[in-house]
Symmetry: C2
Subunit: 243 residues, 2 copies
């Protein structure tokens, strides 16, 4: 059995997980940010990733529904506001839809998840079910990939604007709000897990939850890479880029 | 809205799904059966597929738990017997474990799902959850890939024995029992769906359930192909073949 880590020691172990497994190391992201993707590949990325974006407020609501703490519910509620907006036409889900539209996808197709890879759906459902079914501590911990997201977003925005003439600053509006939101969110989640993981077993569960989340993001990019970067591997029924 | 199909018409639509989407058309199976796989690739296939095998009686028990019909429970119970055996050391799950051992994998690693691709786990969990959460009619219909399994099993056994010196008839014992079991199982399931899908919408749901199941099997092979056939794509934490 491992020893109990200090809060700083636990945070360092979590950062190590990111250094080893976060999807900024995935070849598809390297390709996406460096300008190596075709327009069809960027479309497939945005379309599949919409499945993830659309389920973030679902998993956040599932988490809120599991806690008896007004404090945690109130803090976590901000995530619903960020993703669903104060009213129709606002929020992160809508901004991701506009990114898809700016890339030439039909809004109705994206909303209906038409052509999304089955592997994407399975990975996103695994995440929602993880938050519903595991301990509340693990559910909170699985959000901690936001420790690493400000860097990937900065690289993504710079890389995509420099490398793709079909991408505009307006189309990337989703990303301009996210780093500040992620910094605030991660503060809440990190304080929660350091306060509530009080045994070595609970700390290991927190680390494993973050590994699970990294695996899930990685699997989404594996599926994209296999289907769209390597020719001839688009599974039956999935989105086929033009041309 | 589509018209109500006759029982024969519905069965034909289901067979059409198999002709288009069943995983015997996947390049990994073509490679596996034709002798193109390395020993490491066959190990990875057996290890990942064990996750599926081990969860078949779990999804069958979930289905049994959902019906008030003694007749359906009794007929479906035979599947538990087939996979878990009459006593320890028997049944399909145990035979698959022995296949893994005969390929040089450690029994304890396989039992613990050590090194299994996250995408495999997500696909298998999606199947178990489908059977738990969708209508009983859809749950039954999702088993109908057994309409197509006798052919793929015959090709697999012949191809693997002819092409791999590390595969023996004993190691493939799992497959010798399956075609007859599948024929009996499919008779029950097909009679159930043709009797219980009484509206066009229910018939469409049955067809969609079989498509889902085909997609899930296909996604498992996509993940194997991406990780093990195309070099350099094994995700963090997954099984790495020797050499």
């Amino acid at each position: 059995m491992s020893a109990l880590l200090s809060p700083e020691g636990l945070e360092q172990r979590l950062r190590d997980v990111g250094a080893q497994r976060y999807h900024d190391k995935h070849p598809f992201h390297v390709r996406l940010h460096a300008g190596g993707c075709t327009r069809g590949e960027v479309q497939a990325w945005a379309l599949n990733r919409y499945t993830y974006q659309a389920h973030i407020p679902v998993k956040d609501a599932a988490l809120i529904a599991r806690t008896g703490s007004s404090d945690l519910r109130r803090a976590w509620r901000q995530r619903l506001v960020d993703h669903d907006g104060a009213e129709a036409g606002e929020g992160g889900v809508e901004r991701w839809l506009r990114l898809c539209e700016s890339l030439g996808l039909e809004r109705a197709d994206v909303l209906a998840f038409r052509g999304v890879l089955p592997a994407t759906r399975f990975a996103v459902d695994a995440y929602v079910n993880f938050v519903r079914e595991r301990s509340l501590l693990e559910a909170v911990a699985s959000s901690l990939t936001e420790l690493f997201s400000p860097t990937i977003i900065r690289n993504r925005v710079a890389g995509m604007l420099a490398n793709y003439d079909f991408v505009s600053p307006e189309s990337l509006a989703y990303f301009s709000a996210r780093p500040e939101q992620a910094r605030r969110d991660v503060e809440v989640a990190l304080a929660y897990v350091t306060a509530n993981a009080r045994t070595p077993a609970e700390q290991e569960a927190v680390i494993a939850a973050l590994e699970f989340k990294c695996d899930m993001l990685w699997a989404m990019l594996d599926a994209l890479q296999h289907a769209y970067v390597e020719p001839g591997h688009i599974p039956p029924g999935a989105f086929v880029p033009e041309g």
